[in-house]
């Protein structure tokens, strides 16, 4: 295989036509001016960000010149996200089984207080299901939370 073979000579001559395709006259006189103007405009716009986070600028620059680094970074972020999702699902399952235990184990006083309240709710609901027929137990249930109960009465103007 010889890419420089004579077989391609005519094709190469034809391809030379592309060298004659040129942009409008004066285009390259403006080109560098436009580039410099855009650089200046960009510097004014992103001055703060680049100065605050120079490491960010270096990383983005590396992404531009080496797309492989961008790919590796993307893969690492995906892996981190998947790990985070999997581990958060595990935590959610364990707290939903026993929120009181999980909170109490965490040692956080506010969470412990919440857990105590949650446990009180659980025991209250158990109590309610076992003694629904007893008004006194219902009253004691509301007493436990110091809630005021009052009989409801409705009056309709039309008499209905």
């Amino acid at each position: 295989m010889n890419p420089e073979s004579e077989n391609f000579e005519q094709l190469r001559r034809l391809l030379a036509l592309k060298r004659h395709e040129v942009p409008p006259p004066g285009y390259f006189d403006r080109f560098s001016r436009d580039v410099i103007a855009r650089i200046k405009a960009g510097e004014r716009g992103s001055e703060g960000l680049a100065e605050k986070f120079p490491w960010l600028g270096r990383i983005l620059a590396a992404f531009d010149t080496r797309p492989a680094i961008a790919g590796a970074f993307g893969a690492a972020v995906c892996a981190l996200l998947v790990t985070a999702i999997v581990s958060s699902e595990g935590t959610a399952v364990s707290t939903s089984i026993s929120p009181g235990i999980a909170a109490a184990n965490s040692g956080n006083p506010s969470l412990t207080a919440d857990a105590t309240l949650a446990n009180a709710n659980v025991s209250a609901s158990q109590e309610m299901s076992s003694t629904t027929s007893s008004n006194s137990s219902i009253a004691s249930l509301f007493d436990q939370f110091q809630l005021k109960t009052q009989p409801a009465s409705f009056s309709f103007p039309g008499g209905n």
């Binding site: 295989m1 890419p3 077989n7 391609f8 005519q10 094709l11 190469r12 001559r13 034809l14 391809l15 030379a16 036509l17 592309k18 060298r19 004659h20 395709e21 040129v22 942009p23 409008p24 006259p25 390259f28 080109f31 560098s32 001016r33 436009d34 580039v35 410099i36 855009r38 650089i39 200046k40 960009g42 600028g57 270096r58 983005l60 620059a61 590396a62 531009d64 010149t65 797309p67």
Partner: protein, 215 residues
Amino acid sequence: MTDPATGKAVKKVLPKDEAEEVSAPAPAEEQELVNRARNGDLSAYDELVRRYQERIYATVYHMTSNHEDANDLAQEAFIKAYQALKSFKGGSSFYTWVYRIAVNKTINFLKQRKNRSQMSLNDVDFNAEHDPDLVALISDKTPRREANLSELQEKLNEAMQKLSDSHRLVVTLHDVQGLSHEEIAKIMDCNVGTVRSRLFYARQQLQGYLADYLK
């Protein structure tokens, strides 16, 4: 340079052998400009842009076959290069490095553009009508004698657009811009053998697409 007959500005096109000799300018001088630009000297960067703007623009233009896209991408490549100058270690020449940025940008752009390819071709300059190779191609040796330059240009660009991005890039850099296999390998971050095989395959494909114009 001005054409004496028409007074129209024309661009000197290097013959193939001469074009193959085109390479980066003196490294010391270039390094000095890069250092100054790195320290925020925009006039030094302006000089660097002026040196390479035509080649970068041409590469992107031949890849996209669209002047507006080429203009945007070439400008963005130079802007990105300026922003990334601090990370430029000087392992390769500035010229190769800018090329690489432009090529990566163009390939990413072409991947996104895939389904809305629209050509916006530049005019063929005055020299083309007098290029003996091209005159020969559009006259006696070409079975389609009615073919004129603009038709030939359109067919050529259509054929180029049928190539894959990497094959089109190799043909553009080698056969249109006259870069050596080694320079192309550096720009494309692959080995010289890959460049040669891609060039061979791309030329074969083009020969098939343009058979009517090459008999």
